[in-house]
């Protein structure tokens, strides 16, 4: 039986993990390589590296880091942030990324998903979408969740999958940062309209939130989170043991 994936997300700027990370026993907690290795050793099923640098020069630092990560950590790596063209896909795939996550780049150029899926395969293209309720409907937001595009989120996601996105990351702006649990209603709506794997993001505050996620929406394939792992509030090992205890299939590290 396929296991449910637990995916920590690392925001990287100038070659360092941002968002205060607080771990005992790690020499350099803001090193993407050390932190990635720590998560991998503790049972992370995949890692997402989000490039939040702005300038072209900093992009080189990011790809150098990515290459180092991919030479030492042998689990799937997804890269997002600043992916606007096929050249961007090429740049990160050559450095060891397995999947590439598109968000604003696909909003600016909807053809990007189709082009990338055609060249690299559906399995390589992850559509990441920031969604917020506006007047009772789900709307797509861009620019890191600041700007309402006016697009209907369910239509947008359906179209992305039709164009070749092999996986969806659904980030609920409504639950993000609140730590009150995942947005089960929104996730359920998305799982109903697409048949590719859906990854839940936004809202995880404690272990029980993941138990509820997979128990209540068994269609969800994975849970993604950042701060609860970074701050050491929840270790992936403990989380997976608890999921296992609740009858949710997970990969346990021996």
């Amino acid at each position: 039986m396929i296991t449910k994936r637990i995916i920590p997300c690392l925001d990287v700027r100038n070659g360092r993990v941002v968002k205060g990370v607080n771990f005992e026993g790690l020499k350099d907690v803001s090193s993407p390589v050390e932190l990635g290795k720590y998560y991998s050793d503790n049972g992370a099923d995949e890692l997402v590296f989000y490039d939040i640098t702005a300038s072209y020069e900093d992009r080189t630092i990011f790809t150098d880091i990515l290459r180092e990560v991919a030479s030492t950590i042998f689990i799937p790596l997804t890269v997002g942030g600043g992916i606007n063209s096929l050249d961007d896909f090429d740049r990160v795939l050559k450095c060891g990324a397995d999947k590439v996550s598109v968000n604003s780049g696909a909003i600016k150029n909807p053809d990007l998903i189709y082009q990338a899926a055609k060249r690299y395969g559906d399995q390589c293209v992850v559509l990441s979408t920031d969604v917020k309720r506006v007047d009772g409907t789900f709307k797509v937001f861009s620019k890191g969740g600041r700007e309402n595009t006016g697009m209907d989120a369910l239509e947008w996601i359906k179209r992305g999958v039709d164009n070749g996105a092999g996986e969806i990351v659904l980030n609920s702006i409504d639950t993000d940062g609140v730590k009150g649990g995942f947005d089960l209603e929104m996730l359920s709506a998305v799982c109903d309209i697409v048949k590719v794997p859906v990854i839940a993001s936004g809202g995880a505050g404690k272990i029980q939130d993941f138990v509820d996620l997979f128990n209540k929406i068994p269609d969800v394939s994975a849970g993604l989170a950042a701060s609860i792992f970074h701050f050491g509030e929840v270790t992936i090992r403990d989380l997976k043991l608890e999921l296992n205890k609740n009858g949710i299939p997970v990969r346990l590290i021996k």
Partner: protein, 204 residues
């Protein structure tokens, strides 16, 4: 030395890095001399079957790989590289494979109910056929590996050495003499994957 066949598809960075990590000498190459002189061959691949097989046949590397395998050199196909070992694939039409292992490649969706998501992405447990294939000698029952695929090998019962449960027993690995294939990605399957690559590297 292991030759990783470079025919213009796929991300080979992790594969060569993972072999390096376990102390195995490997080179990414399309040079026929290098492939002929290697002890073993890995045929990687991601993306679409038609595009990949066209590149492999047009470059002349298909013929070389088949000949090398027929001379007894250990060969491992990974993911799409495994699917290429078969007679044919029905991914968007009908396309010829290398014909090193009897069987064919078909769409998962044709054999799955609505509740199974496609692609089959994620970590899934291996069930081994007995006697256990030498490439799994360091593995234990229930070890998980990383899959990402929408097509699977079928009508190949005699060569199946591991399956995984995803709605049905999906072909996870095959072997026929010196020719091996993994549907999953050993180079992305953590320590379990490294153990498979190590066992392959140790084959005589």
């Amino acid at each position: 030395m292991i030759a990783i066949v470079d025919y213009g598809v796929g991300n080979l960075f992790s594969l060569v890095s993972s072999l390096k990590k376990i102390g195995v000498d490997a080179v990414i190459t399309s040079d026929k001399m290098v492939i002929e002189n290697a002890d073993k061959i890995i045929l990687p691949g991601v993306g679409a079957f038609e595009d990949a097989s066209r590149k492999l046949f047009n470059s002349g590397l298909a013929e070389l790989v088949v000949n090398q395998a027929k001379q007894g050199k250990p060969l491992m196909g990974i993911c799409l590289g495994m699917q290429m070992l078969f007679d044919k694939s029905y991914e968007y039409g009908e396309h010829k494979g290398l014909g090193l292992i009897r069987g064919e490649v078909r769409a998962l969706k044709d054999n799955l109910s609505e509740k199974y998501r496609i692609p089959h992405i994620g970590w899934n447990a291996l069930k081994f056929s007995m006697p256990k294939s030498p490439i799994f000698k360091y593995l234990e029952d229930g070890d998980c590996v990383y899959f990402v695929h929408s097509y699977y090998a079928t009508n190949c019962t005699n060569s199946v050495v591991a399956t995984t449960e995803y709605g049905f027993d999906v072909t996870a690995a095959v072997a026929s003499g010196n020719v091996y294939g993994c549907q999953f990605h050993p180079e992305k399957s953590g320590d379990v994957g490294l153990k498979i690559l190590k066992a392959f590297a140790e084959l005589e």
